[in-house]
């Protein structure tokens, strides 16, 4: 039923904030379609609205105007609580500062989303978390606490966590912003690999070089899209060194919880 429709559809979206100085528009009249399997980079200077846009895509925030649809879900209509449940199954979020639960081990962090959403039967969760950690080449670090891991390792755990419930969409706000360029490359390679296995990835970056390796590049300025190059179907260029083995469950990558999927 979704044939002919993009996976992510953003229409006439505006986002304003009430500030002491009056209404401030972080996004204005944004229209954007992203097909399933696209690898999208969002760039722009600080304060241009990148994070705001990404939050709307991830259902972390709701627009003040317009509609945001992901798969068959009208995200802008969901309540905070419905959004949380929807995110848990459909979106994997990766943060700049990794944001792992400090008192949980790596593998427990990966299991946490499964715990909240209960997608996998409890018996399978540990095995799945092990496989995901192995996929990000951290199979032997499973029992460590975040404080005992390097930044790059923490970010890889965070990516494994984002994949826990096998969501079709991954969003990442400056996922490499806190990593040196070599580590950033390794993390980026993981993303490329995920896209190859059918995931849709939208990420924000300040790194021109990384951005250029995405399949599509969206540039924001003052809350508007000022440039949009690449687009659906482009194969990622210049994939970095193969840092990880392919994600075994990639076949299910395009699955959306209501059965809808990318064209």
């Amino acid at each position: 039923m979704l044939y002919g429709m993009a996976f992510i559809r953003i229409q006439d979206v505006g986002k304003s904030f009430e500030t002491a100085a009056g209404k401030f528009f972080a996004l204005r009249d944004v229209c954007l379609s992203i097909e399933g399997g696209e690898f999208v980079a969002i760039v722009g200077k600080s304060g241009s609205g990148k994070s705001t846009l990404l939050n709307l895509v991830a259902g972390i925030d709701r627009p003040t105007q317009g509609t945001v649809d992901v798969g068959t879900t009208a995200v802008h209509r969901l309540t905070e609580n419905q959004l949380a449940a929807w995110r848990g199954k459909n979106v994997g979020v990766v943060f700049q500062f990794f944001q792992l639960m400090p008192t949980l081990t790596a593998i427990e962090n990966v299991m946490l989303p499964m715990d909240f959403r209960g997608v996998w039967p409890p018996r399978e969760r540990l095995d799945r978390a092990r496989r995901l950690l192995a996929d990000v080449a951290l199979g032997d670090q499973a029992a460590k606490l975040p404080a005992e891991l390097s930044g790059g390792e923490q970010q890889r755990v965070a990516i494994a966590r984002a994949l826990a419930n096998d969501p079709p969409l991954i969003v990442a706000d400056e996922p490499t912003g806190n990593l040196d360029s070599r580590t950033a490359d390794a993390v980026f390679a993981l993303f490329t690999d995920l896209v190859r296995h059918g995931k849709t990835i939208v990420f924000v970056t300040h790194d021109r070089d990384l951005a250029s390796r995405a399949s599509r590049l969206i540039t924001l300025s003052d809350g508007r899209i000022v440039d949009d190059t690449g687009g659906a179907g482009r194969v990622p260029v210049g994939a970095g060194p193969p840092a990880a083995v392919p994600v075994p469950s990639a076949a299910a990558a395009a699955r959306v919880d209501d059965g809808g999927g990318p064209p």
Binding site: E80, A85, G88, Q99, T103, L104, E108, P113, D115, F116
Partner: protein, 803 residues
């Protein structure tokens, strides 16, 4: 199956912040412990009192006559259709030698057949049963008073002045006997053969009876007792004393209930205060973990799941508190029950804490913290993901926006670090409010307890000022006043002596006489008739005037007399039945009562003539030249010997300092209990402050690191936090001072009602206020030193790594 990761997080957070966990758990445990002990003691005492009472088959009423009567009267009362059982006994007051030359009052009760007691049963404890001839069984709670062991021979003086040596043959238990500390008289039980051997006639002066129907209906009992009274009076015996206990209740029931209520209120208060600490801790915890909440929401946690995690953590606090509070509560209940049982002369046969009390503890340990945490949990988990992630890393607690802040800002002339402490104190207003509330309540209770003590002592002193005599003797019959005075004045050390009329009376309208809220009893009015110009009595007048020599038919009454006489006051008329005569009086004054007994005072010359006893007295009041207890004791011994010598039959001898000690003993017991509870409150208050201070330190780790970086020494950091803690302590003291005023008034009112049957005048105790200032400052310093020390351990480097 392994614990799901979110519960592992909860569990690790509990463990990681052990000191915080311990603090919260201990404070909940204190509250749960206090409530458990009070509720448990109440239940056990109620259960045991009922069992103990049922086993003795308590009489519905007891009548004491002035003249003795025989078994025919007992039989004819027993035969009345409204009466189920009737039993006669004889009570004799004797003096028992506790040490050479030292005598104490013993009330000997002769029972016709120890194996066939039907009413007010006396039960064997140790030794012989029934008592052998020439042997006495002492009520077990009085064994400390007689200072002899079972098997000893003891010397007693009979009312006729004869000395007899008796065997202390064993101990008995009489549920009605209050421990001697409460009324200074020991009870002893003898057979009629022993009674005859003592030279007393084999007849009765006490009639115990139960009603046939409606045993728990006091009005019905009163009706029946009136019939019995009429019968006894028709038989020519004037009633001296008539007692109708509250059916099925221990005589001290209302006192026990009042005290338990007060303790229960304090227990609930301790619990409430520990709830505040939970609120504070959970609020701080959620503020600290805001970003974690945001991240969990971002990865799919719904609000109720996160709320559930924190609720689970709070429930774990409650469960851990139970681990502490249940066993200590059981021990505490045992100890407290024993203490109360001793006070009530009660054997606790089964000290098991009722399951309902354990269930109550479980319930409050789980519910109270959850209720206390509900607001911060609801508020803390409401935050949206965007806000939570955006707020990450920011300090919390705003200073500068509130009017109070601007006021604090204006404070000048303090050192920079002190200023910092002052401003920090006001940063977390909700937390400060709850901490202050905790400490303030503890402080107010503490100060109020001291004020209550001062009020009780003042009242006691005031009450005893009534008696300006040092020694008094009560006689079993009246004697000519001149004879009494001559005998007394011949004793060295006696400087003045007066003879007074002393008898009992009752309202013509009512059976009982004055009510009493201390004893669940109907008792008669006690009549004293000193000469109006007597200087040996100084009643604390509340309204009206004291007697004047020309007074006739004028009467001064204690407040207790007015209790069940609606509308009666100064100027009103009072109809009294005295020694079988109906008399009418005009109330000219109202005075504070001494203890729960209702007293009336009349003018001696008129009164003694009225009762056909002109020139005679049953009461001798004596003033001595020395007043220390030893000297008084010596003079009392000589006086007793002298009176005996003169052939005067002494019933009881009272020394004023003993009277004082007896009342003081009751007060002290209550105050000790209050202080224990206040101690618990202070502990909870201190824990609350320690909790607040450690939360402040944890929250300001980043700031501390920065202060460190700009050169703050250990001492400077320590001073900032300790000053802050002591500032809170001082503020709470000032507030406690204010709150203690209405609190003191309320408690003295309630206690006065329970103990003395009238409201007390509240005296405020500067000692309590000063002591609490000292305590709260020390507690505050201690409560902030530990968190402050952990602040000094914060290194600049660790702050950079701080999440």
């Amino acid at each position: 199956m392994p614990l799901p990761p979110r519960w592992r997080k909860v569990w690790r957070d509990l463990w990681l912040h052990r000191s915080r966990t311990v603090l919260v758990v201990v404070s909940i445990a204190v509250g749960v412990f206090a409530v458990g002990v009070v509720a448990g003691t109440r239940q056990i005492l109620a259960r045991e009192l009922e069992a103990s009472f049922a086993s003795i088959n308590p009489a519905s009423a007891t009548l004491q006559t002035l003249a003795p009567f025989g078994s025919d009267l007992v039989r004819s009362v027993a035969a009345m259709p409204a009466v189920a059982e009737a039993e006669g006994r004889r009570t004799v007051y004797v003096r028992l030698e506790t040490a050479p030359g030292v005598w104490t009052n013993v009330q000997l009760i002769a029972i016709p057949d120890f194996r066939a007691i039907t009413l007010d049963r006396v039960l064997p404890v140790t030794g012989a049963w029934p008592p052998p001839e020439r042997g006495v069984l002492i009520e077990r709670s009085a064994i400390g008073l007689v200072q002899h062991a079972v098997g000893d021979d003891v010397v007693i003086k009979t009312p006729s002045g004869r000395r007899k040596t008796m065997r202390l043959a064993g101990l008995a238990f009489d549920a009605y006997a209050l421990p001697y500390t409460l009324d200074g008289v020991a009870f002893g039980y003898i057979t009629y053969d022993t009674l005859a051997w003592l030279g007393e006639p084999r007849d009765y002066n006490e009639l115990h009876l139960t009603v046939a129907e409606n045993r728990h209906d006091r009005d019905h009992i009163t009706d029946v007792v009136e019939q019995v009274r009429d019968k006894v009076e028709r038989d020519g015996r004037a009633i001296f004393f008539m007692t109708i206990p509250e059916p099925g209740k221990h005589p001290l029931d209302s006192t026990i209930q009042g005290m338990l209520l007060l303790l229960g209120v304090m227990g609930a208060l301790a619990l409430g205060l520990s709830g505040f600490l939970v609120t504070n801790t959970v609020a701080a915890l959620l503020a600290q973990e805001t970003w974690q909440i945001g991240v969990m929401k971002a990865i799919g946690a719904q609000r109720q799941q996160i709320a559930g995690m924190y609720a689970g953590m709070v429930a774990a606090y409650g469960a851990l508190a139970l681990v502490v509070a249940v066993p200590t509560g059981i021990l505490g209940t045992r100890a407290f029950t024993q203490l109360m049982a001793g006070y009530l002369n009660l054997t606790v046969s089964d000290a098991r804490v009722p399951p309902a009390v354990l269930a109550l503890q479980v319930g409050i340990a789980l519910v109270v913290p959850l209720v206390a945490a509900a607001v911060p949990i609801v508020a803390g988990t409401r935050i949206s993901v965007r806000e939570a992630i955006a707020a990450y890393g920011l300090g919390t607690g705003r200073f500068g926006t509130h009017r109070l802040d601007r006021w604090v800002e204006r404070v000048r002339g303090l050192s920079r670090p002190t200023l910092l402490s002052l401003r920090n104190t006001f940063r977390r207003k909700a937390r400060l409010t709850l901490t202050l509330a905790t400490l303030t309540m503890a402080g107010a209770m503490f100060i109020a307890t001291f004020s209550v003590n001062a009020s009780l002592t003042r009242t006691l002193d005031g009450m005893l000022e009534l008696w300006q005599w040092d020694i008094a003797a009560q006689f079993s019959q009246s004697y000519r006043v001149e004879r009494l005075r001559n005998a007394a004045l011949s004793v060295p050390g006696v400087v003045a002596a007066e003879g007074w009329s002393y008898t009992t009376a009752r309202h013509t309208s009512a059976t009982g006489g004055g009510g009493s809220s201390l004893l669940s009893f109907s008792v008669p009015l006690i009549v004293f008739a000193p000469p109006a110009e007597s200087r040996l009595i100084k009643p604390p007048l509340i309204r009206g005037r004291w007697l004047v020599p020309q007074d006739e038919q004028a009467i001064v009454v204690t407040t207790g007399v007015l209790d069940d006489q609606a509308g009666l006051d100064v100027g009103g008329r009072l109809a009294l039945r005295i020694g079988g005569r109906d008399t009418t009086w005009t109330v000219v004054g109202v005075t504070q009562g001494i203890g729960p007994m209702p007293f009336v005072y009349a003018n001696y010359p008129y009164f003694s003539a009225l009762v056909r006893e002109a020139g005679r007295a049953q009461w001798l009041a004596v003033v001595t030249d020395r007043h220390d207890p030893e000297a008084l004791g010596g003079i009392a011994e000589q006086l007793e010997a002298e009176l005996e010598q003169a052939g005067l039959r002494v019933g009881l001898i009272a020394e004023i300092h003993q009277e004082r000690a007896e009342v003081a003993a009751i007060f002290e017991g209550i105050l000790a209990l209050l202080l224990v509870m206040v101690g618990l409150l202070a502990v909870v208050g201190g824990l609350g402050l320690a909790g607040t201070m450690s939360l402040n330190v944890i929250e300001r780790t980043r700031e501390i690191g920065v202060m460190r970086a700009i050169g703050a020494s250990d001492l400077a950091l320590l001073r900032i936090f300790v000053t802050e803690g002591m500032l809170i302590g001082f503020l709470s003291w000032a507030l406690a001072l204010v709150v203690s005023v209405p609190l003191s008034i309320a408690i003295t009112r309630a206690l006065g009602g329970a103990l003395l049957g009238s409201a007390l005048k509240t005296v405020f105790s500067p000692v309590g206020a000063a002591a609490w200032l000292g305590i709260v400052l020390v507690v505050a310093a201690l409560a902030s030193v530990l968190p402050a020390r952990s602040a000094t351990r914060v290194s600049v480097r660790s702050v950079l790594a701080y999440e």
